[in-house]
């Protein structure tokens, strides 16, 4: 099953069809669908326990769905582990951050894909380029405007909550080739750092990499999202845009106060088609 690919713009970069995930008797995903189009920021909102995190964990390979298919660039993909997803160019900022507190910033940024020294030191002695990785970490963190830390050999546990989140965001921004997924990336951030992350999300989109943003912070979602996917009881119930709906209308759909009558075809449309309609 593929998307209605008339032009390249209408071909979703990332697509989920009919994802089901049960944890015992708890239904986390109930035939959930999702489309992410090139160059867009897709906001994902939903009440606690709606299955947002489970949905995005299916894309990052951290959760394997019981049923359903995932398409990357129109091709069906089996994601069995986080490294499968990373190899496909998908980077995720998890709500839990997934950083190792006792390890330093440089090591955390490159964890799982360490850079080796060139030549015989790297090939025979498997020597890592610790200095180079720290240098890159410093560059990445300062590019993001998240550099309030000087020492990249500092352990992450000595950082504040906001700085730790900065490390996780920097890692995703540095390695995301195709899609960047952010699960509550501003939860631990102050207002200033939140602005920087929102700006970063726009910058990443302008670089041509689409972003999925999961957040409880409606003003943030409405500020940066091109389309907003509303998740309720394990499935997509509506897709709106900041132009078509107000925050309170979106919240009403999210909590079930308003019934949405959108068909799946309507919800799978890119922003340009939605605006034209």
């Amino acid at each position: 099953m593929t998307a209605p690919a008339t032009t390249n713009d209408l071909q979703p970069v990332l697509q989920a069809r009919g994802l089901v995930k049960n944890y015992g008797r708890v239904v986390a995903l109930d035939h959930a669908n999702l489309e992410l189009y090139p160059g867009e920021v897709l906001g994902v909102i939903g009440d606690n326990g709606a299955g947002k995190s489970t949905l995005i964990k299916c894309f990052s390979g951290a959760v394997i769905p019981d049923q359903g298919e995932i398409f990357i660039g129109g091709e069906p993909f089996d994601l069995h582990s986080p490294s499968d997803s990373m190899d496909a160019g998908i980077e995720t900022v998890y709500q839990t951050l997934a950083v190792c507190p006792a390890l330093d910033i440089g090591t955390n940024l490159y964890l799982g894909r360490e850079k080796r020294k060139p030549g015989i030191l790297g090939s025979v002695f498997r020597m890592l380029d610790l200095g180079g990785m720290r240098e890159d970490a410093r560059k990445e963190m300062s590019d993001l405007g998240l550099l309030t830390i000087q020492d990249m050999s500092q352990a992450v546990e000595t950082l504040s909550g906001g700085q730790r989140q900065g490390v996780a965001v920097a890692r995703a921004a540095a390695f995301g080739q195709r899609v960047i997924i952010m699960d509550e990336p501003t939860a631990a951030l102050g207002v200033k750092e939140s602005r920087k992350v929102l700006q970063l999300i726009k910058d990443v989109r302008d670089r041509g990499i689409p972003v999925i943003l999961i957040s409880h912070n409606m003003p943030h979602v409405f500020e940066v999202a091109d389309r907003i996917h509303i998740h309720r009881l394990g499935r997509r119930v509506a897709v709106v845009t900041p132009q078509s709906h107000s925050m309170s209308e979106a919240v009403a759909i999210m909590t079930g106060a308003t019934e949405s009558s959108m068909t799946d075809e309507e919800m799978a449309q890119p922003a340009s088609v939605m605006a034209a309609a």
Partner: protein, 361 residues
Amino acid sequence: MSGPQPEHRGQDHAAAEATAGAVAGEIVEQERRELTPMQRAQRVLHKYQALAPLLFLGFLLVIFTLMSDRFLQPFNMSLIIQQVTVVGTLAIGQTIIILTAGIDLSVGAITVLVSIIMAKMSDGLGVPGIGALLIGFTVGTSCGLLNGLLVTRLRLPPFIVTLGTLSIFFALNLYVSASTTVRGRDMDSLLTATAGKEGTLKIFETPIPLASLGMLLMYVVMTYVLKYTAWGRHIYATGDDPEASRLTGINVNRVLVSVYAVAGLIYGIGAWFLIGRVGAASPQVGLSYNLDTITAVVIGGTSLFGGRGMVFGTLLGAIIVGMARNGLSLAQFDPLWQDFTVGVLVIAAVTLDQWIRRVSA
């Protein structure tokens, strides 16, 4: 429509930002607050993990030198090094396992089993020395591999797995050895070549067995591996936060299995050193190594909760224990005070670790 108007939203943002700016200012003030000397010490010890055991080693050196003239003699220093060689070697394996937040209670049992198998291969079956060694290393690695597979496949706590394999390997050892000792002179000379008359060098008038040099070399290699290779970094990451490690794409189970297997190989080499040190392979010698290696690791500042520590600390820990026992004995304390002191050291080291771990941002 009941949603807020865009203009309103903008104003709210500006107001919110102004308040938040003030709050951020306060936080910065808080961070600039002077640290107390205790907090500063805590941070230094957190950053330089080998510092605490190193200082303590220096303290012991001074104390015991004052208590006995013979303590600092080259011959006595050599004795301490010889006494810590086997425990020090085995503790390298214990360290990498503890770094993954695991523990290995079967060290001693694997070591004795391997030493018996090496000896029996050479003595009973006439396998050449090098063959007996390689078979021994293979057995050690396999024992470690079994531990690793049980920990990852059955998802059992390492404590339980190795408590079980401790009994299993020890029983196998009694079976293979028929509960009898193999004398050193009945084996191929390679098996006993790491110590004794032929296996000892004189360095600055200090006799140093080859086994001790081998142990030091292994510490150098493992220090490099842990610090400069991806596998080493993944060991720390796995022990620190296995779920975060998994999410960053590390195959946590593969790391764990390989760590237990490599530890098994290290125990195999330790078994070779043990034969040299004792001059025989005995099914009863070496069981105390189970706990002695844990003692060395803990005193060396490696955290039992994983992700924190270093093998160099373990070497210091092993030497601290050896030095404390030797110094107390030279000062003519009853041997029971040696055990007493080691016990106090373990508790003090873990208490210190707990405190250092609480360093705040």
